[in-house]
């Protein structure tokens, strides 16, 4: 431990013996955490480990119950968000807090709009300023459109650009790449590299091992609100890191399981979703896990939503077990045996103010837990929910806990539990592991394989190529709304998949060039 970044003099953010208690949860316990000048410091831990809480204490959104936080030796005890901004600290939240109706320029400058001598907003200067910061991370977004018109990846970039407007010397990024597409991730990384060279200190919260090892100098692992270890990235191998995070050994990838594949159960022909997608056609067999890969905005979710009847279709037919079905809305889809675990769990999948129990049995209530379709068999419902909580290892104190109060990964498990309870034949998972910790991901993979083994057909939509490759039997690659390639997992490679995801054509011919670029 003799690298210059361990030098005590150089510590710029320091949390000393910090504890934080929320009703029902000890979020942080006696935690020490230090970040040195000019490093990219990864903060790792499973969902609910306390990463976000710690960061929110540092930026003064929360007050610690015990302990002290120092920024460059200044105790921030009595400071607010604005004060620590002045000390040079900026945080990009996991929840993009943008104002949909305002323009990109205004969102970037929110809170620090340039004003004219009359005190009115100087729109011209604001556009100029926004462009300056946005160009750090993207060159393709217009500052004049409203944020509601942007894709989610673009919105994330706007949020990052906004964090830069205070010209921070310390930047905290909370899972910045979860919403970004491949191209934008590369841009962000090259920005971080340049910024680091000019003295920026970064705290980087991420669940992506690959990213952590690519850009971070040191790693701190949190578990259950306590610090487990801080060390140089070089000194902590990936397998070790994962072990520190979960506290139990888990395998990095799902062991490929051979599940017998049956007949075609879902057949999609000439589907044109109203929102995005052209000429979509594929078959799904029972027991098969079919991956749909593609960068964000490729139209993956739009296809899923169109099949499920959540969005309208311009044309196209859907057949289930050889029989053509009309699916104008989700109710019909559920009746036809299709389940969709949607991407934006908070907006689309859960009723946040309701209990875990009510959320889990929402789909299946009428079918399974009602007598004469009139009243709810509460004992039966409760028993089934308890079973489901145990099986999925949902971290909730009781069946009656309000879902909105659970951590992100736990919420996602509740959504999955909801659909499992419905006992469908076809499951569509849309980015089911987004923002979920390693252990949680493994459990969801396990569930999906279980479903396939029981004969369900699975469509698995993901932006993460590794998980698509390790889980799926077959992969459809989407690019700009079209399926441009079908790959058999056994006969493809990560490079080939990435090549098509990035919109390449004719992999075989160009392989040599690509190898040369690497």
């Amino acid at each position: 431990m003799n690298s210059p970044i361990d030098d005590q003099e150089n510590i710029v953010i320091r949390a000393e013996r910090v504890s934080k208690y929320f009703p029902g949860v000890q979020a942080l316990t006696d935690l020490n955490f230090a970040v040195s000048r000019g490093e990219v410091h990864a903060l790792c831990g499973e969902n609910g480990a306390g990463k976000s809480t710690l960061m929110k204490i540092i930026v003064r959104e929360y007050q610690e119950d015990e302990g002290n936080v120092f920024i460059e030796d200044q105790n921030v005890k009595n400071m607010d968000i604005r004060d620590v901004q002045q000390l040079g600290l900026s945080l990009v939240y996991q929840d993009l807090n943008l104002v949909p109706m305002l323009t990109v320029a205004h969102n970037i400058c929110l809170g620090q709009e340039p004003v004219t001598r009359l005190g009115t907003i100087d729109w011209k200067k604001m556009r100029f300023k926004a462009k300056e910061f946005l160009s750090e991370v993207s060159s393709q977004i217009s500052v004049d459109v409203t944020v509601e018109e942007l894709s989610i990846s673009e919105q994330q970039l706007v949020a990052i650009a906004r964090a830069l407007t205070t010209r921070p010397r310390f930047l905290i990024l909370d899972e910045p790449t979860a919403r970004l597409d491949q191209h934008a991730i590369e841009n962000l990384f090259s920005f971080l590299k340049n910024a680091k060279d000019s003295g920026l200190t970064v705290v980087y919260i991420s669940h992506q091992l690959e990213e952590i090892y690519r850009i971070c100098d040191r790693i701190t692992v949190l578990r259950d609100g306590k610090k487990i270890i801080t060390g140089s990235t070089k000194d902590i191998p990936q397998a070790e890191l994962v072990k520190y995070m979960v506290g139990r050994e888990i395998k990095q990838q799902v062991p490929k399981e051979i599940v017998p594949i049956g007949d075609v159960i879902l057949s999609v022909n000439d589907l044109y979703p109203e929102k995005k997608g052209e000429d979509i056609g594929f078959d799904l067999k029972s027991g098969e896990i079919l991956g749909i890969a593609g960068s964000i905005g490729a139209g993956k979710s739009e296809v899923a939503r169109a099949i499920f009847g959540a969005d309208r279709k311009k044309s196209g037919t859907i057949s289930i077990s050889g029989r053509e079905v009309k699916i104008p809305n989700p109710v019909e889809a559920i009746a036809a045996g299709i389940a969709l675990v949607p991407e934006e769990r908070r907006a689309q999948g859960l009723v946040g103010r309701e209990s875990v129990r009510k959320n889990i049995t929402m789909v299946s209530l009428a079918k399974k837990f009602c007598a004469a379709k009139l009243w709810i068999l509460q004992d039966k419902e409760k028993r089934a929910v308890k079973e489901s909580i145990d099986k999925l290892r949902i971290a909730t104190p009781s069946t009656e806990q309000e879902v909105g109060l659970l951590s992100g990964g736990t919420q996602q498990k509740v959504v999955v539990g909801k659909w499992l309870m419905g006992e469908s034949d076809i499951y569509i998972f849309d980015e089911p592991t987004k923002g979920i910790d390693v252990g949680g991901k493994q459990e969801i993979y396990g569930l999906i394989v279980d479903l396939a083994r029981q004969g369900a057909g699975i469509i698995f939509i993901s932006n993460e190529l590794l998980e698509v490759l390790s889980l799926c039997d077959r992969i459809l690659v989407m690019y700009h709304g079209q399926i441009i390639k079908e790959l058999l997992t056994q006969a493809t490679s990560r490079e080939e998949l990435l090549f098509y995801v990035m919109g390449g054509r004719d992999y075989e011919k160009k392989t040599n060039n690509i190898r040369a670029d690497h």
Binding site: D80, N97, V99, L102, N107, L110, E149, Q348
Partner: protein, 320 residues
């Protein structure tokens, strides 16, 4: 990037009330001879004044993502105090200061209840409305008080050229509100507050203070509307505010189907207010029984709200 509104559907979505308004003027002008005259237009404008100014106050609160119905009681209370104190011989300036104080107090009370104690704005402001109504009755015992001082009445009866004074107030306040909301930081924060309060807090803007200010400013606008309304009626009758209660709400929601579909905005509210009285006046001119007018207004409101919420559904996506 989305296209600019090009299809008919999109245009109706974005400018629905404006079209209906123009259409109504054309139709009434063709079928009723008395409708298309300077006097009638002056009349419509003057009648819309207190409604419009009060609706601007509500619009401000709606932009901030809350609702404030306290004007339903405040208008009556202000009217009663205004007429009562004038009758007792206090100077108009002093009386004006007193009612301004009443307005500020009501706004502060709303702010304390809704921002401070975090009560739901709908219920809290209805409670304040009842408080105001009760206070009004305690003050004047339900007796109508007339205002006879010609100097005071000239505030609403004067003309500047061919333009009645209230019309100047209406458009003056409109311009000020619109300018402040769209061109100043504070005004834009009010909009941001209504759209995503976390975004506003996160960048260090004092969200609660801004929201509290919104309720106070709205109450001042309500008070001014009450001032005009009382003088125009020539005195304080009981229940004066109650007639306006739903009209103001209607004007603001009609406004949501204008210019910025699904969002409260000042130009929309202005059109909404004028539209409501154009219909009242037009239907009256056609000799349609007065008791049928609310039916027509109800139908128009349903259409307007349908348009504005259809657009909102598109943004928020279906939940399942």
């Amino acid at each position: 990037m989305k296209k600019k509104p090009t299809t008919l559907g999109q245009i109706i979505n974005n400018y629905g009330t404006t079209f209906a308004f123009i259409l109504a003027i054309i139709v009434f002008s063709i079928i009723s001879k008395r409708f298309f005259s300077v006097e009638n237009f002056q009349n419509i404008l003057v009648q819309s004044t207190s409604l419009g100014i009060c609706a601007f106050g509500l619009t401000l609160v709606l932009i901030a993502g809350e609702i404030d119905l306290s004007y339903g009681g405040l208008i009556g209370l202000v009217g009663a105090v205004l007429a009562g104190m004038l009758k007792q011989g206090y100077s108009p300036l002093f009386v004006s200061l007193v009612i301004l104080a009443i307005g500020l107090t009501t706004g502060l009370l709303n702010a304390i209840l809704i921002v401070g104690l975090k009560l739901p704005s709908f219920l809290a402001s209805v409670a304040v409305m009842f408080l105001c109504m009760g206070t009004e009755r305690v003050y004047n015992l339900g007796i109508t008080t007339w205002i006879r001082d010609p100097q005071v009445l000239s505030i609403v009866q004067a003309y500047i050229g061919p333009v009645p004074a209230p019309v100047i107030y209406l458009f003056g306040i409109f311009v000020i509100c619109y300018f402040l909301q769209t061109q100043t930081r504070m005004g834009q924060y009010v909009r941001a507050l209504g759209e995503n309060i976390d975004a506003v807090k996160e960048v260090g803007i004092r969200a609660s203070l801004t929201k509290a200010a919104v309720f106070v400013v709205a109450a001042v606008l309500f008070t001014f509307a009450a001032y005009i309304e009382t003088l125009r009626n020539g005195g304080a009758t009981m229940f004066a505010g109650r007639q306006l209660l739903l009209y103001v709400l209607a004007a603001s929601f009609l406004g949501m189907a204008t210019f910025k579909a699904g969002k409260a905005n000042f130009p929309g509210t202005l059109i909404g207010a004028l539209f409501l009285y154009t219909i009242t006046s037009g239907l009256a001119g056609l000799g349609i029984k007065y008791y049928l007018v609310p039916v027509v207004q109800g139908i128009i409101l349903i259409i307007a709200v349908a348009i504005s919420s259809a657009r909102r559904g598109k943004i928020e996506q279906i939940q399942f």
